[in-house]
């Protein structure tokens, strides 16, 4: 998870790079990203998937991508959620959707439950778990991993321009005491607005 200097990028800074590059994409956030993204940006095409079924953000994003093949979908997933549903990487490739980017924010812990280690972090005693390697093996056209913020900043725009499906693992710092996750408003209010924004896409 860390580079040779032991550094990881701050979660908010990693997200800010995406926010600066975001144009008209549909964005699905969950877990830690659903806590931070709404503080940084608000857009009718943001869907903060809280409450969620952990691990299901990428499939939900795939469903959206299949409905709007001319529009890009960004899914911000946690590493714990990704581990729960690695098969969805194969599902995404099998679907033929090219307009989806899965970004895994990799901090090695179940942050919203208080910071317990994921199995992937525990596995590092034996071997490095490479999320982008999973995606590459599943057939993603783009599968990258960044440990350093400056590298992510330098390459993010070019990665998002490449033909998909795309996968990016970002090694991020845990947020510490601010882990608690609350839904940014009632789903019964947010979901119809999101569906309405989707309906306006030509």
């Amino acid at each position: 998870m860390t580079d040779s200097t032991g550094s990881r990028m701050p979660l908010v800074a990693a997200l800010e790079i995406l926010i600066r590059l975001r144009t008209d994409q549909i964005v699905v956030t969950t877990m830690g990203s659903a806590r931070e993204w709404p503080k940084l940006s608000q857009n009718p095409l943001d869907f903060h998937y809280v409450p969620s079924s952990m691990g299901q953000a990428p499939p939900l994003g795939l469903g959206l991508a299949l409905t709007k093949p001319e529009r890009e979908v960004l899914v911000l997933n946690g590493d714990g959620g990704m581990l729960m549903n690695l098969g969805c990487l194969v599902t995404i490739v099998a679907s033929g959707a090219r307009n989806i980017t899965v970004i895994v924010l990799e901090n090695g812990i179940y942050e919203v439950t208080g910071g317990q280690q994921t199995a992937a972090l525990a596995a590092r005693r034996h071997a490095e778990v490479d999320f982008s390697g999973f995606a590459r093996a599943a057939g993603f056209a783009v599968a990258e991993r960044f440990d350093r913020l400056q590298d992510w900043q330098a390459q993010a725009a070019e990665i998002l321009r490449r033909p998909g499906p795309r996968f990016v693992a970002l090694s991020v710092e845990p947020v510490g005491a601010e882990y608690h996750l609350e839904a940014p408003g009632p789903m019964a209010e947010r979901l119809p607005k999101f569906a309405q924004a989707l309906a306006q896409i030509e």
Binding site: G63, L66, N85, C88, L198
Partner: protein, 161 residues
Amino acid sequence: MDIPAEQVRQTLVELGITHVVWLPDSALGLWEQALDRPGTLELVRVCREGEAWAIAAGLHLGGLRPLVMIQNTGLFESGDAMRNVLFDLRLPLSAIVGYRSFLIPNSTDSARRFTEPVLDAWGLDYVIVREPGELPLMAAHLLACREAGRPGVALVAEGRM
């Protein structure tokens, strides 16, 4: 019970289904060729049943009309994803679920034993399709549930393990 695949396809087309999101069993799997034929239906293959509910949710939010097609064992596996999209997101999704061992007299298959109690516990409205002639019953049920804005499930009776 072997329901002719073309009859299933035609029923789904008439229901306006755009995508079948599926992980089949040996009975539902017989419909693969018909459902995968180019045309108005798209077949989306998943690796684990929970994905099917989430993909269907995305398709529904985007304005399409998906249907989840899985076995009852997959229904059990996918409980949390189903809970989320049907109750947190309140999406009135439709599903066809293979009812394993229903046609085997005195079956001790636990998948059979728990299927209806589980659906009852979730409060899901379901019908059982016992023979091919009951496909119209399934269609009417799924349509009525959709029009009422609630999820609908059709259990398709199977004899195989």
